[in-house]
């Protein structure tokens, strides 16, 4: 059962580690731990992850354990990946044999944090809330608490802060935020545990490298990210991170600087790709030179000075919320100007992000199953054609979302007399039905709902039409559902595409 935890904790080669230290060395520390352990929670989760190859099925259940800790106002923090897709959660605390049922109150998959609530108010008797501290300094010592593999009781490890950087968060697979790297031993099962410095929370242990790749590299989510999460949910819902939606190009090449009208020196980055679904679209142009963000001068490598650190300019946006704006000072064709840009969440990223707590979207008609391209669906594909790989990996960079905000794929064709000749269409991408563009899965469902003798499906890059006779296909739907035990013919909830993008424009 521990193994199922490690599978939760290992994503893209990153391991999530729970930290338990052998605290026997220092007597004074022992007293400190006696206090800290009253904040610790061991989390048991039964998760049910959807099976994208049978999207109507309930999915596979698995057990996992992780760590959490109590903070003010009777809240419990842990990692999102500890409680993702949870169907049942119980909490255990030190010196208490009982197990308390808990529920997810807020979950933020883009920064791998979750807040739990406990049904029984007695749970908090004897617990002590931890307080959030600052980002620890390089080379300072931190203590990690948690319930990793190797035993059932609390484990404590200690290490130093090795690096403060901006890195990918494995849980969603597409997000990058501030992380703090520490050299304390971290093992699967530690996720969600507090990293302590001077009796305050310096971060949440959440991922690491497998020992095959690197030694003594563990990562924690630092307090600016945690505080942002707490602030975001203060209004009762989590709104995700916001972004400017463009790529910058460092200006460290002397010729490039001169051509853009800049003098020598270390300042400014060029605007490269501006994403059409991003906030900056319509404001920034390729070739603009960004000079400052919210008053902070931008260096040629894209870093700004915040406090004592040089961080990527994204960090300024990272700490903002839906509805906030950012002020940019820039130079366009030699002219200096200032722009204020309202921020949003660039939705096309979500196609490649790991999805949790959502059932897979699909439509089945006449023995053919249609599913939108997503990370979960892509992962279960037995073979990935060049076209599918292109649509998945180049969805943003080639702006494929403009034509197909949702890439609707023929994922399965059930053998039946009506589908005898259709096998060659499997894994094709739907472009049109009866001459109408299919931009999102709803368009496909609507097309099949419109009365017609034939439904003629045109696929991307394959000009042979897939023809379904409406009468025969409807009969086949019933037969195939019975025969193959398909409990549902469509699930359309949970689209990542905003309504204005889904509409035909």
């Amino acid at each position: 059962m521990q193994l199922s935890i490690s599978s939760v904790l290992f994503k893209s080669g990153l391991i999530l580690l729970l930290i338990l230290c052998a605290m026997a060395d220092v007597v004074a520390a022992g007293e400190r731990i006696d206090t800290l352990r009253r904040s610790l929670v061991r989390i048991y989760t039964v998760a049910q992850s959807p099976d994208y190859s049978t999207p109507w099925a309930p999915g596979n259940a698995s057990e996992g354990w992780g760590t959490g800790f109590v903070i003010a106002k009777k809240r419990i923090l842990t990692n999102a990946h500890v409680v993702s897709n949870a169907r049942f959660i119980t909490l255990e605390k030190e010196d208490d044999a009982r197990r308390y049922e808990a529920r997810v109150k807020f979950i933020a998959h883009d920064c791998d944090l979750a807040m739990l609530e406990v049904l029984d108010p007695d749970f908090f008797k004897g617990t002590q809330a931890l307080h959030l501290g600052a980002v620890p300094a390089l080379d300072s010592t931190v203590t990690v608490l948690g319930y990793p593999i190797g035993g059932n009781r609390l484990s404590v490890t200690r290490g130093v802060v090795s690096r403060i950087d901006y890195r990918g968060y494995a849980h969603s697979g597409v997000d990058a935020h501030l992380v703090v790297q520490i050299d304390a031993a971290i093992n699967p099962g530690n996720s969600g545990g507090p990293v302590i410095q001077e009796d305050q929370v310096a971060g949440v242990a959440f991922q690491g490298y497998s020992g095959m790749v690197a030694q003594n590299v563990g990562y924690m989510i630092p307090t600016p990210v945690i505080e942002r999460f707490l602030k975001d949910v203060a209004d009762g819902r989590y709104d995700r991170y916001v972004d400017l939606g463009f790529q910058h190009f460092p200006l460290i090449n002397a010729t490039q600087r001169r051509a853009l009208g800049l003098g020598p020196g270390d300042y400014g980055v060029m605007v490269g790709e501006v994403m059409r679904a991003g906030a900056a679209y319509g404001h920034l142009e390729t070739g603009d030179v960004l000079l400052a963000i919210d008053g902070l001068p931008i260096a040629g490598d894209g870093r700004v000075k915040m406090g004592n650190d040089r961080v990527m300019l994204h960090e300024v946006v990272e700490r903002k919320f839906k509805g906030d704006s950012v002020a940019l000072k820039l130079q366009r064709q030699g002219r200096k100007m200032t722009l204020t840009i309202p921020l949003n969440t660039p939705w096309p990223y979500l196609m490649q992000a790991n999805q949790y707590d959502e059932l897979p979207r699909f439509v089945m008609y006449g023995g053919i199953v249609f599913q939108p391209l997503s990370s979960g669906f892509y992962d279960v594909l037995p073979n990935r054609s060049v076209t599918l790989r292109y649509y998945f990996s180049q969805f943003l960079s080639e702006e494929l979302y403009l034509e197909h905000p949702e890439v609707v794929v023929i994922s399965k064709i059930f053998p039946d007399p009506t589908t005898s000749y259709l096998g060659g269409f499997t894994y094709g991408i739907v472009d049109q039905v009866n001459g109408e563009k299919v931009k999102v899965l709803e368009d496909l469902a609507a097309a099949f709902a419109r009365p017609s003798d034939f439904y003629v499906i045109r696929l991307v890059g394959d000009p042979q039409p897939l023809v379904l006779e409406a009468g025969a296909a409807q009969e086949a739907s019933q037969r195939i559902r019975r025969q193959y035990g398909i409990t549902q013919t469509a699930h359309l909830k949970g689209s990542i595409v905003p309504p204005d993008w889904a509409a035909v424009r």
Binding site: N253, A259, V386, S393, S420, G461, Q464, P465
Partner: protein, 525 residues
């Protein structure tokens, strides 16, 4: 059925006629039925080829030379027939008789990398003129026995016989499908010969295309393909195997048939896509048409016709092999409820007519180095440089362009896709090092549709800079024209990489030096 045979017979006569016309003093083989092993030996030649391929990821560089041998077949005119793969990017060819072990340099007379066939001739014609040429055998069918001839290092001939288990179109090289005999047999000896003759009675029935030792199958280039090649080669300028320029699919699905309103008695193939400007397009063929007949051959819904010898065979064979470039073939097309004849004049689609050329052989890859940026046209050989797993390892956007080149949106009106393949690091290119495989859209405001456009566009910098616009991030880069000579000097001196001149002429630096092997694995490896 009869028609096919007549066509074949006619081709045979034309071949004989051309032999006479060559004036090679060749007496026609008197009786080839019971040729003795000595005669067979006298009609085979060992061909040793040393070739050197270009490295498309470093287009200024060639791989170390490699040497392969083939057993070529003497055909009319004293020329020697071998697989094209062996002469690809050849630097030196040596011919050796098997009986007298006489050696002489040779040269390529005609080569076709699509059908994987080549004719090599000795520099001195006397080398082979008194040798009895092999004539082509009758076309072989399923169940007949063929003999593969192998040659020991001392010149002795070893034969292996086997039955033809199937005759159908197989892959000769990428996307090139031609008639293939599958023979059930194993080759006992491994002499690394890249061409082995296959005979029926005493006539040449084919050449080994590839050999699957585990499955004990030998794939053989079939006689009709060789016949097409030889006929074309004898008729003045070699024109290659024709295409009609369209994609088609089957019409088996009753739902599709009812939708496109094709009644049951009508059988044929569904035209998916007509390549713009190709032979079918010029003849007026349209997507959605159903072709019921090609010439006199009725087509089935499967995309096949009934061949008298091979049974059901792909209609591609009718166009690519049974017809020649320039032939006018009548397609009978079912459109809007009526049958309609369309005369298609077949043509060959040269590799340089593709957006992404399928092969580039016997010539150096064209490239430019501009301010350290290496620019090339996207090609199959470039993608194949990503190794055996190029289909998964090559950049996905480039693979997609290659695979969908006939379907990409045409509004860009480009002949080729020009990419920055890498940036050679110099003090002037700091910050550009990570760029690779990005598509060049414009240079100095001018759209780039082929590498030559870059040369032209560089003649007119904008505001004192070269502006390079890219399809991908970072979208725009600048170079200083005044710095280019300094960058070039560093590249030539430190890296010893030659820089092609940026003059207005489009000629590559080594016009007759070449590049890559077609996609074939030949026997005996």
């Amino acid at each position: 059925m009869l028609i096919t045979r007549i066509v074949h017979a006619t081709l045979g006569i034309m071949m004989l006629a051309s032999i006479t016309a060559c004036g090679t003093l060749q007496t026609a083989p008197p009786d080839i039925i019971n040729r003795t092993p000595d005669h067979v030996q006298a009609s085979l030649v060992r061909v040793t080829v040393t070739s050197q391929n270009y490295i498309f990821h470093r287009p200024w560089q060639q791989r170390p030379p490699v040497t392969h041998t083939a057993i070529g077949v003497v055909v009319a005119g004293g020329q020697v027939l071998v697989n094209a793969s062996i002469v690809a990017n050849q630097r030196y060819i040596e011919l050796e008789t098997l009986d007298t072990q006489e050696k002489q340099p040779g040269r390529v007379a005609v080569v076709d990398y699509e059908a994987n066939l080549a004719l090599v001739e000795p520099v001195n014609a006397a080398f082979s003129t008194d040798r009895t040429p092999f004539a082509l055998s009758d076309d072989a069918g399923i169940g007949e026995h063929l003999t593969v001839l192998q040659v020991k290092p001392d010149g002795d001939i070893i034969s292996a016989s086997g039955e033809i288990t199937s005759v159908e179109l197989g892959v000769y090289s990428l996307n090139n499908y031609f008639l293939t005999y599958r023979v059930n047999s194993s080759l006992q000896y491994r002499f690394n010969n890249q061409t082995l003759p296959v005979v029926k009675a005493d006539g040449l029935a084919g050449l080994v295309l590839r050999h699957n030792a585990a499955g004990q199958t030998i794939e053989v280039i079939a006689a009709p393909v060789i016949r097409h090649f030889l006929l074309d080669a004898r008729n003045g300028d070699y024109e290659g195997f024709p295409t009609a320029g369209f994609h088609f699919g089957q019409t088996l699905d009753p739902q599709l048939r009812r939708y496109i309103e094709v009644p049951d008695p009508i059988e044929g193939i569904y035209v998916q896509k007509v390549i713009k400007g190709g032979p079918a397009d010029r003849a007026g063929l349209q997507a959605g048409d159903v072709i019921t007949r090609i010439g006199a051959h009725e087509l089935f819904n499967t995309g096949q016709y009934q061949d008298p010898l091979y049974g059901k065979t792909s209609a591609v064979h009718l166009i690519r092999t049974l017809a020649q470039v320039g032939d006018r073939i009548t397609f009978t097309v079912y459109r809007d409820g009526a049958l309609l004849p369309l005369d298609v004049i077949l043509d060959h689609r040269r590799p340089d007519e593709y957006l992404v050329p399928p092969y580039i052989v016997d010539q150096a890859p064209e490239y430019l180095i501009v301010g350290g940026m290496v620019l090339q046209e996207l090609s199959m050989p470039y993608l194949r440089e990503y190794g055996n797993d190029w289909v998964t390892d090559a950049p996905i956007h480039l693979l997609y362009y290659q695979q969908n080149q006939d379907y990409l949106n045409g509004e860009e009106a480009r002949e080729k896709i020009v990419i920055v393949t890498e940036v050679i690091p110099t003090p002037y290119t700091i910050g550009y090092e990570n760029l690779n495989n990005v598509v060049v859209a414009k240079v100095n405001g001018k759209a780039i549709g082929k590498l030559g456009d870059v040369r032209t566009a560089l003649a007119s910098p904008l505001n004192g800079f070269h502006k390079i616009e890219l399809r991908q991030h970072p979208r725009v880069l600048y170079l200083d024209p005044k710095e280019l000579p300094m960058i070039d000097q560093i590249i030539t001196q430190r890296y010893r990489i030659p820089i092609p001149p940026l003059g207005m002429d489009n000629k590559p630096m080594h016009p007759d030096r070449g590049s890559i092997q077609p996609d074939t694995n030949t026997a005996g490896e």
